[in-house]
């Protein structure tokens, strides 16, 4: 059975449709990433799955439960790491972890939890004295206190420095290795790439792409980008090259037929004796695919009439 099964999920606030009909399946033991820019509806979706918000329409099943019914049995089996949620600042790390462990029928061992998130040497520290990164680790430890089958991680590394991110990734990988199902939201493509078995890209309340990373990249644009600069004094480019000027003064050509275009470009350069500075041809990166999917790519101007 799928850990999460969603069909036709909608959520409106008045006239605004935050989630505009999405389907989603997360298999048991899978690490699934919900990717998208801020305001895409990721957090709303996840909060519906966690049981925080009622939905407007659609069918939702989480571990076989309808989260809207707020079943205690469901909450015993899920772990939630919210984007920003406080804990009692005057308790110690160990006390907080113990407090939350006490809510669950089969809690995870406290020392194991602290070791898992790398707080094993600070059990007696007051929560109020922890650094931001340590607070976040405590968040994760508290989310895992009940040894959940399904873990929700809402933007687990936002605001982390690179070292802390790497550590957080290790933790998520460790959870995955234990067979936990993980649903994480992120706006970092590389994070999804490193962690997720499958992912969905959400924009404006809809899922615009879903599958493994390879599938999503393959479905995206395959155009090669050719970039170069021209010396300050140079003849106009041939009119049949769809080149356009970028902000920095460099030229860019996007083409599905890079061999022919490069031949034409370099031929022209040799014929006219113009130097093509910094000439480079590149396939779309993950970032390009993501930006194209989420409509954040810079608007392309009409090809310059040369």
């Amino acid at each position: 059975m799928a850990a999460i099964d969603v069909h036709g999920l909608r959520k409106s606030y008045g006239d605004v449709e935050a989630v505009a009909g999405i389907d989603l399946t997360v298999a048991d033991g899978e690490v699934f990433a919900l990717l998208g820019p801020n305001g895409a509806g990721k957090t709303t979706t996840v909060e519906i799955l966690e049981g925080y918000r009622p939905r407007t329409a659609g069918d939702v099943s989480v571990l076989g439960f309808d989260p809207a019914r707020r079943d205690r049995k469901m909450r015993e089996r899920i772990g939630i790491v919210l984007q920003s949620a406080g804990v009692e600042a005057y308790l110690t790390v160990a006390e907080v972890v113990d407090l939350y462990r006490g809510y669950y029928p089969h809690p995870r061992d406290r020392d194991e939890l602290l070791a898992l998130v790398g707080l094993e040497d600070r059990p007696r520290a007051r929560v109020g004295t922890l650094s931001g990164g340590q607070r976040r680790r405590l968040d994760v430890a508290v989310g895992l206190a009940g040894d959940p089958d399904l873990v929700f991680l809402d933007e687990p590394t936002t605001g982390f420095d690179p070292g802390a991110r790497r550590h957080a990734w290790e933790v998520v990988r460790g959870l995955a290795a234990l067979g936990k199902t993980i649903l994480l939201t992120t706006h970092f493509m590389d994070e999804a790439q490193v962690l997720a078995d499958r992912l969905a890209v959400m924009v404006g309340g809809r899922i615009v792409a879903e599958g493994t990373l390879g599938e999503i990249v393959a479905r995206g644009s395959q155009e090669t980008t050719i970039r170069f600069r021209l010396p300050s004094v140079a003849p106009a480019l041939p009119g049949d090259l769809p080149a356009q000027r970028e902000d920095g003064g460099a030229w860019e050509i996007r083409t599905a037929d890079p061999v022919r275009v490069l031949h034409r470009l370099t031929g022209w350069a040799i014929d006219t004796g113009v130097d093509l500075l910094d000439l480079a041809a590149s396939k779309p990166t993950l970032e390009d695919t993501y930006l194209a999917l989420t409509g954040q790519a810079p608007e392309r101007a009409e090809p310059s009439p040369a």
Partner: protein, 252 residues
């Protein structure tokens, strides 16, 4: 049984956190004791409105203030803070039933209130010779129970009305301080005073009067049930309002 154990456990943790927070411990706990000392120092020896000594007036008055402070002020502030810090939201995501969490906060507040009542009574007896009304313990327990229930309900209701935790002290003090002045807590007023009449519409004065009648020097003052009815009415209104305004979502 497990529910009860969870509740007791939660109260223990809330209590531990409370005492480690210097601001909470000071304003909730030390405040009434300081007020009692200061009022007695200022008014000591003078006869108050109804002819009783300052100490005889201020002992039940500060008992009233203790309940209001622990249940209303402390609960309203700490719950709105917990809401905006996301603690309530986090709790909502765990199997702990919401009512246990809220009852724990209420229970912890009432506990603080009762400890204060005991200290104020003892302080009144030892330092100012105001005898503890042992003979009227059942009535006292009844008044304290209804009074705490009333101010806890109102505290929860007002926490729901507080736009964000930064505004909490302003909202809470603006609603309670004027009442403390016109409700025979900080200053005794004549019954026909206009402000006293206004105060009679609100619950503070009724708790104060009920406690004054228990602490009368010869313990003969009759407890007028009308005070309890007013407190109960406000308790129900507070609960109804709390159920409408309460939310788990941080308001930042």
């Amino acid at each position: 049984m497990t529910e009860l154990r969870l509740l007791v456990r939660q109260i223990r943790y809330e209590n531990r956190a409370f005492w480690r927070n210097p601001a909470a411990a000071f304003f909730t706990f030390a405040f009434p004791l300081i007020f009692m000392f200061v009022f007695n120092a200022i008014f000591g020896g003078q006869a108050m409105g109804s002819g009783q000594s300052a100490a005889a007036f201020f002992t039940p008055a500060i008992v009233c203030f203790s309940i209001v402070n622990a249940c209303y002020t402390n609960l309203a502030m700490s719950v709105s803070l917990a809401r905006d810090e996301g603690i309530l939201k986090r709790i909502m995501g765990t199997p702990l039933p919401a009512w246990i969490y809220l009852m724990a906060r209420i229970g912890q507040s009432v506990l603080i209130g009762l400890v204060l009542v005991a200290i104020v009574s003892a302080f009144g007896a030892i330092a100012y010779g105001v005898p503890v009304p042992w003979g009227r313990l059942p009535e006292l327990v009844l008044v304290l129970a209804i009074g705490s229930a009333c101010f806890c309900a109102l505290g929860l209701a007002v926490s729901g009305l507080i736009p964000n935790a930064r505004a909490a002290p302003a909202v809470v003090n603006a609603t309670i301080l004027p009442l403390l002045f016109i409700s025979d807590v900080f200053i005794p007023l004549q019954d026909d005073n206009t402000l006293a009449r206004i105060g009679s519409v609100f619950p503070v004065r009724h708790l104060a009067e009920a406690l004054q009648s228990i602490w009368t020097p010869d313990f003969s003052g009759a407890l007028d049930p009308i005070h309890l009815l007013w407190l109960l009415g406000w308790a129900i209104a507070g609960l109804a309002l709390a159920m409408r305004t309460f939310s788990w979502d941080p308001r930042v």
